[in-house]
Symmetry: C2
Subunit: 623 residues, 2 copies
């Protein structure tokens, strides 16, 4: 990887930072955040402004350019990559290290007195604006919104914002019509006494209208906003995709409807003006509900006294609890996904010893098998196909420069998933195609114990996911091992593979309580730098549990694995498992046999079926 | 318990709320918080203003009186007690219930437009002021500081503020001299670039100067503030106790000292004026460090731009990590405490069957045995001596109206502790003096499993205590049982029995990471309303652990029990324990035998020794 040469670009940026055509007053610093105007985790190429200006294209990072300096803040996952992709114009600010200043503190230390710090108000979330602005102001500087994005002014070959056709989802997939979702949303709005709700997150717009898109890779979403009033629905979206007859029919755009369900379609770019008009027309006590992560621009459109901000929107919370149709869809998707992986692992078992399979080939083969399944749409994230030392890089993605050949001497870790029209998958399996060492088996077995501890945990209704995180670590901790990532994240239903408001992490303190119908991942791991990586990940559904005393009718919850892919028994040191854990593995494998076995049979995939049967032989504990 | 009649008092309070002698402008509401000017958990009688005005004397509660209403906010521990102690003038606001308004929201709903809400600025913490003030202002009201405490103006027989003699602690108890503590504090101040540090918490003043007092029951502290500059030390304290020769010598008040260690003694009441003088004399970049829980009055004395506020002060953090002298003192204190409890339980075993021992008699007897031990000072909190259904009241304290007789048919729960000059204890044991039911044993055993899961937990250096909380609940959760309190709190060294900044609780998100030398309690429980309560509590020391792989030199931690009192084996259903848990109990009891047995022997307490030996017979698991 050679760094991007940014000398000329930075010179141009510094010029526009002083150009009265773009800024009211010159700005002495310009912030280039990672995100798009919707605070998306995955962004479209046209929004990769930070990568454009710096060369660093990891998923998280903020660039700040002053007249003298250019600095990049990113976290531990990306220290190495950022250092390789950026040239000497850039200083890497390693977040999480003790001596690394915050962006605000750094700005205060380098700026001349009374400086202006510019940022695109559509890209910076309101909560972050507030924090930065406060620190800068107390040091005599000003954070100022710069209407025109300054990167766009110098990015001559900036790609167009995507505007791809939409997919409509009928009731068999969604379980609830968009009209009923609007009704439920309005009842939540009435409860909180708000008159308007602004939908800014792309997956929330998609979920609300039972539409999907492909404007952003891996996430089946489309660029849009919505503003829901008690009697009006406004959808801000561009392109002739709204001319598509199925879409018009789905949204009943040409039907005679009660006025409160009539959708007004407006241009994507008109959201700010429309919201300002809403803001200007509010009478006292008429509140407007926004996520506290909505952009500063949209938040400011509503006068402060009228804003109602929450960390999680009612759509975010409703979306997390899957209904019967969604749950059944997720089950189907996971069975198809398991069929594809049985095919893959059977193929790898035969091919790896020949020394011809690279990480990229394996990833492509996984995609090929998945794409053969019904309703396959695309992958749900970039496949992590990693062998040997590459497995220890938690967010690894094979590229030609790093591409390693799978062998019978190294552990192989595959973290992959897909979007099917009926559900989203995300599964990690760690395999050895030769003979694992005793140490590798030991580590794998601790990770498995952690996986089972979470998956089999029983807990009272109302428990937050972060309270389960340590269960996944206990077996590792006992031996002085740990992993430096969370244990699980929410998973969407044919939507984003990472979604709020629940999760299982030592870092997640603002998570909402788990409830039946929520879907999260369970993915403890262990990483030995320079040697190997282990992770065992299932997507699991929160379900009611049967307990002896049932928490005085408060109710009990536990998890049911949706992922049904064998866990390689060759990697397990059976003597480290308790009887209960051993039974868990055997019951899990029995279910894989029954459910996935039947589907392999139905699809006539007999060789993969034989592989499945071999891989799901019961474990026998030596007493 | 009959309620306090408050009609006349409320009338008087409402008069002074309008009396220009006390308020600049009439206030339409007056807030009476629980605390004192130091945000102490335990307060002196002269600070029990909320109890005076309402009758409700629980440890937590805030009263608000308006012209029409009188309302009391308290939490679940006190719903019953508050309802019993308050007359019909008062509305009980049950915190934690969904429909209970916050104090701010309630004020907004009942106040006439443009109201003034008064509060004593010395009693309300700055962070709470900020929150309330913001909400009130946005609704058109004003939170205003009322200099003279309005309760004091009507409390004619208000007790005097205590001003009792001080105890000096030499190096054999503290391990570090006050001079060295000042040096360490100043180095923390230099690190953060602050020029002044204001000590507002009573236990922090006591710890810093290696002094103890008895101004507040159970907490060996004294009323004082301190302001530490880089070259000055000011101690704000009243009374002729500073004339006491040992105190003068301890503080070297009459010695020729380097000026930076010369303590200026000033009147307690002069803190505000002195701090205002400090605030007025600051040059740019001279910051003053305060706890964000310091009173509004003291916080306001420093202009906003010069304040440096943190949730935990450097003293709070330093105090939590006990040095070798303190740890040894804590060990000694716990051995003496165990001797007293062996005596008590031996005595109870003989006396309970006679039907003559009440909860109060048992509590008194526990105090009697403790007071026979060397360096005993006082109890460390009000003894929770509870039998049968009283055991299910988590913060129960026996009073004549509730006093129950111990019997061979009910579970007895004793949660008690003492202050010794060398350490603070806090221990809970749950006993049955007859034959426990299978269900009682089952519940007890789950609680024990939770206690062991925490006590034996191994975790990486830097882990926060709240990540261990679920370990204590897992066995209960598996059967659909739980308890509604945290699992552990920090414990002072001959100081407050509850101290920050660490703890083990699902509620504690702002806790500091555990480190070797910290001391916390481990106290899971189970409570069956109307029937019984179970809790097993040890005080445990955080120590380095030996692990196979040692977290890549990050280091491992675990706990060592300081409390060495037998856990009643009669209550254990051995078949519910794993082999590892069984061994833990047997090793723990072996240590009780060796360490406490030797001390009982030394003190010639042969009968109690025989009891200890009987109670620590190894468990045998039926395979």
């Amino acid at each position: 990887m050679s760094p991007k040469i940014t000398t000329e670009l930075l010179k141009q940026l510094r010029q526009v930072m002083k150009n009265p055509k773009y800024v009211q007053e010159p700005v002495q610093a310009y912030i280039v955040p990672s995100g798009d105007a919707h605070q998306s985790e995955y962004i479209a190429p046209c929004d990769c402004r930070r990568a454009f200006i710096s060369g660093f294209d990891g998923s998280a990072g903020t660039a700040i350019v002053t007249e003298q300096h250019a600095a990049m803040w990113t976290d531990g996952r990306y220290f190495l990559q950022a250092a390789q992709q950026m040239d000497n114009n850039w200083t890497l600010m390693k977040m999480g290290l003790k001596d690394t200043p915050t962006q605000e503190d750094w700005l205060v230390s380098v700026l001349p007195e009374g400086s202006k710090v510019g940022v695109d108000p559509f890209i910076i979330p309101a909560d972050q604006w507030k924090r930065m602005s406060k620190v800068l102001r107390s040091a005599g500087h000003d954070l100022v919104p710069v209407k025109e994005n300054l990167i766009n002014t110098i990015w001559t070959d900036c790609p167009q914002r995507p505007c791809k056709p939409l997919i409509t989802l009928d009731l068999s997939y969604t379980g609830v019509s968009w009209r009923d979702k609007i009704v439920a949303l309005r009842s939540k709005m009435a409860e909180r006494k708000v008159m308007w709700f602004v939908v800014t997150a792309l997956d929330e717009v998609a979920w609300l209208f039972n539409l999907r898109g492909s404007d952003v890779e891996y996430n089946p979403v489309f660029f849009a906003y919505a503003v829901i009033g008690m009697n009006t629905i406004r959808l801000f979206i561009d392109g002739d995709r709204m001319m598509d007859p199925p879409v018009r029919e789905h949204l009943q755009l040409d039907s005679t409807l009660e006025p409160e369900f009539k959708i007004q379609v407006m241009p994507y770019g008109s959201i700010l003006a429309e919201l300002q008009a809403v803001g200007a027309g509010l009478s006292p006590k008429e509140k407007v509900w926004l996520s506290d992560k909505a952009s500063y621009a949209l938040t400011e459109a509503i006068p402060k006294a009228y804003r109602y901000l929450t960390p999680y929107t009612p759509i975010c919370i409703a979306k997390a609890v899957k209904n019967a149709a969604e749950t059944e869809g997720m089950r189907r998707a996971h069975i198809k996904d398991a069929v594809a992986l049985c095919e893959l692992f059977n193929w790898l078992e035969k091919e790896v010893p020949k020394g011809t399979v690279t990480e990229i080939i394996a990833a492509d083969k996984a995609e090929e098998f998945r794409s053969q399944q019904k309703d396959f749409v695309e992958l749900s994230f970039a496949t992590i196909s990693s062998t040997g030392p590459n497995g220890a890089i938690i967010h690894y993605k094979p590229v030609p420069e790093t591409n390693r050949t799978l062998s019978v001497n190294e552990i192989y870790l595959l973290d992959s998933g897909a979007q099917y029209k009926d559900g989203t998958t995300d599964v990690t399996r760690t395999m050895h195609f030769g003979t694992p060492s005793a140490y590798e088996k030991e580590c794998f077995t601790y990770v498995l114990k952690g996986h089972i501890a979470v998956s089999a945990a029983i807990f009272p209704n109302g428990t937050k996911g972060h309270l389960l995180d340590s269960f996944a670590r206990s077996a590792l901790w006992d031996c002085g091992l740990d992993y430096l990532h969370g244990t699980g994240h929410g998973v969407g239903s044919f939507l984003n593979v990472h979604e709020g408001p629940c999760g299982i992490s030592y870092k997640t303190f603002a998570d909402e309580p788990l409830e039946a119908g929520m879907i999260v991942s369970d993915e403890p791991g262990y990483y030995e730098d320079g040697s190997f990586g282990i992770r065992i990940e299932n997507v699991v559904l929160v379900i009611p549990a049967e307990t002896k005393y049932n928490f005085k009718n408060r109710g009990s919850l536990t998890f049911e694995p949706l992922t049904l892919v064998p866990i390689q028994t060759k990697m397990i040191d059976v003597n480290l498992l308790t009887e209960k854990e051993c039974n868990w593995v055997n019951e899990y494998h029995q279910k894989c046999r029954e459910v996935v076995g039947a589907e392999l049979e139905r699809q006539g995939r007999h060789e993969a079926l034989r592989w499945l049967l071999r891989e799901t032989e019961p474990l026998a504990r030596v007493q």
